[in-house]
Amino acid sequence: MTVAMGLLRRLKLAVALAAGLALAACASNPNPAAVGAAGAAAPGSQQDFVVNVGDRVFFESDSSELTAQSRGTLDKQVQWLQTYNRYAFTIEGHADERGTREYNIALGARRAQAVRDYLASRGIDANRMRTISYGKERPVAVCDDISCWSQNRRAVTVLNASS
């Protein structure tokens, strides 16, 4: 793993943790992504995308419907991706562990597709996007209750490192 990828992973974790804390502490917090030191990321960098835009959206249980909050995040992604159009990216669809293996693979694909369709509808070139589903194989939050499951039901826009 490169240093950049490692950094990216830690940043993602920080965002996920921050989001989780915000959910747990105060549902009315208007902007959980603002928690943490955001200023360090250079504009147009992968860190900038992860920290200042938000690389992921979350889903309700067994749903691939984009919530209003998700569409808000994706609108910011569209704006950023149009500004920095050198990036190609992969949309990773994920499910929580409260489903069976095969179904969750398909559910993750459906979630990734929902994000892809939305980004395309806002003018992002389909050639820049690919999708993949990890089903329930790659949780970011590991515990046996809803506080983790809700973070794992996600679609993550991952900028290609080589872009």
Partner: protein
């Protein structure tokens, strides 16, 4: 690649019937007390089963050097029979007669005195040509006669299989049903933290012995399934590009991708005769079912829905397919013809149903059921009637049938356990056993009988 390339014969185990000894010799009819036979003949819907007391004294070593191996074979046989829940091996400390000559008639009164209903005697002998000879005789203690006897010749590395084959012989003679001990399990070995789990394809004997690894853990692998033997496996693997369904030959170590489809392919399973692979293909947000002929490579679309259709499984005669679909909202089990066409929903209970697997007997479908936050393993008739939950808890998933249709294996992940383990449960739901594995384990699939 032709299918023939995938099939390499296993080393042969030759078998011969042993002549019956003693009073009533040759009369292989029902020497068994009626009540005992009735107790062992388990029906799917039966309640409590009284395990049959059986004496299994250490097999005799044909030469002094064979004694240790003979004892190990005895322990494997006793372990198989005990785990089935249908037999209660008697503590050897209670045995009165010491079996030294397996060609002599035992002193039945000594075995009646300790309430053994059946007695298994045997011998293991290394032959001058290096092969191993295993022999057994199964005795009806109360009738005082031999029920069956066999001898087997094989290579020494197959010694555990000889034990399993003998256990299958005992099981079949005393229950009237085929056994399931000379079989293997392919599964996914899991190591490392949950968010970066390393998954390897692994294969082992049904009792957890002889674990071998097929993949190294570089790529994420899921849902391995056996073909008509334990030598060919289909599974899903991640790697470069889209995750795909693969075939793997455990003997030649040849790996082939199944078809060249755009998007992801997953959830594969062989047809009963091994010439087709049925699977899901992802198309946008939908997943539909396709079958591929492994010889012609022709692919047939079986479903065309704006839904998730997955986890397909053929009926044992190959004529029908059960699968799960959320076309009606939540995942439920459906049945359709082998070529697709209209599908009938068969699961109507509360909750959602997934991972249907058709019983080798043809009369039942096992499934994973989610209801009120619990994951259960159950069975139902192929029309969805007579649903019975065998086990339920935080997370149970992915049943696979023993080839005789009497036992299911599945994986269970208890809350806080950190990872899944394999379990077996019989159709009464009363005999649940943990299957030993080196690490966490999931996605088990049971092979057919090897002999």
């Amino acid at each position: 690649m032709r299918e023939n390339d995938l099939l390499v014969p296993r080393p042969l185990i030759t078998r011969r019937r042993l002549l019956a000894l003693g009073a009533g010799a040759g009369a292989l009819g029902l020497g068994w007390p009626r009540s005992a036979l009735a107790a062992v003949r388990v029906e799917i819907t039966s309640g409590d089963v009284q395990p049959m007391p059986i004496a299994i004294p250490d097999f005799v070593g044909g030469t002094p050097g064979d004694t240790e191996a003979a004892r190990s074979v005895t322990q494997i046989i006793a372990g198989d029979l005990k785990r089935s829940g249908l037999f209660a091996p008697i503590d050897p400390a209670a045995y009165i007669e010491k079996i030294v000559n397996t060609d002599a008639v035992p002193r039945f009164e000594d075995w009646r005195a300790i309430n053994a209903q059946a007695l298994l005697t045997g011998r293991l002998t290394r032959q001058p040509d290096g092969r191993l000879k295993g022999e057994f005789r199964l005795w009806d203690v109360f009738a005082g006669q031999q029920l069956t006897g066999q001898q087997y010749f094989t290579t020494p590395d197959m010694w555990r299989r000889v034990a399993h084959i003998i256990a299958d012989g005992v099981y079949e003679r005393l229950t009237g049903e085929k056994g399931y001990f000379d079989t293997r399990i392919v599964f996914v070995d899991e190591t490392g933290p949950k968010e970066r789990r390393i998954k390897r394809l692994a294969i082992m004997d049904q009792d957890g012995a002889n674990v071998g690894y097929i993949t190294r853990g570089d790529d994420l692998v899921l849902t391995p399934r056996f073909s008509t033997s334990d030598q060919v496996i289909t599974y899903m693997s991640y790697g470069q590009g889209d995750p795909k369904v693969y075939l793997y030959n455990t003997k030649t170590r040849q790996r082939d991708v199944v078809g060249n489809f755009p998007g992801m392919s997953f959830s594969p399973r062989f047809s009963p005769n091994g010439d087709m692979v049925i699977m899901s293909l992802q198309q946008g947000g939908n997943s539909n079912l396709f079958a591929m002929d492994l010889r012609s490579r022709a692919t047939t679309r079986l479903t065309d829905t704006a839904a998730i259709d997955t986890a397909p499984c053929y009926s044992p005669d190959g004529g029908r397919i059960c699968f799960e679909s959320d076309r009606g909202g939540r995942p439920q089990i459906y049945v359709m013809g082998r070529d697709g066409g209209p599908a009938q929903r068969v699961s109507f209970g509360e909750g959602s149903y997934s991972t249907p697997v058709w019983s080798p007997r043809g009369d039942a479908i096992a499934f994973t059921k989610q209801y009120q936050g619990q994951f259960a393993i159950g069975i139902m008739g192929i029309d969805g009637r007579n649903e019975r939950i065998l086990t339920s808890g935080f997370h149970n998933e992915g049943p696979t049938w023993a080839p005789n249709g009497r036992v299911l294996m599945f994986f269970r992940d208890n809350a806080g356990a950190g990872g899944p383990s394999l379990y077996t449960i019989d159709l009464t739901g009363r005999n649940e056993q943990k299957v030993p594995t080196p690490s966490f384990a999931s996605d088990p699939a049971w092979s057919p009988l090897l002999s």
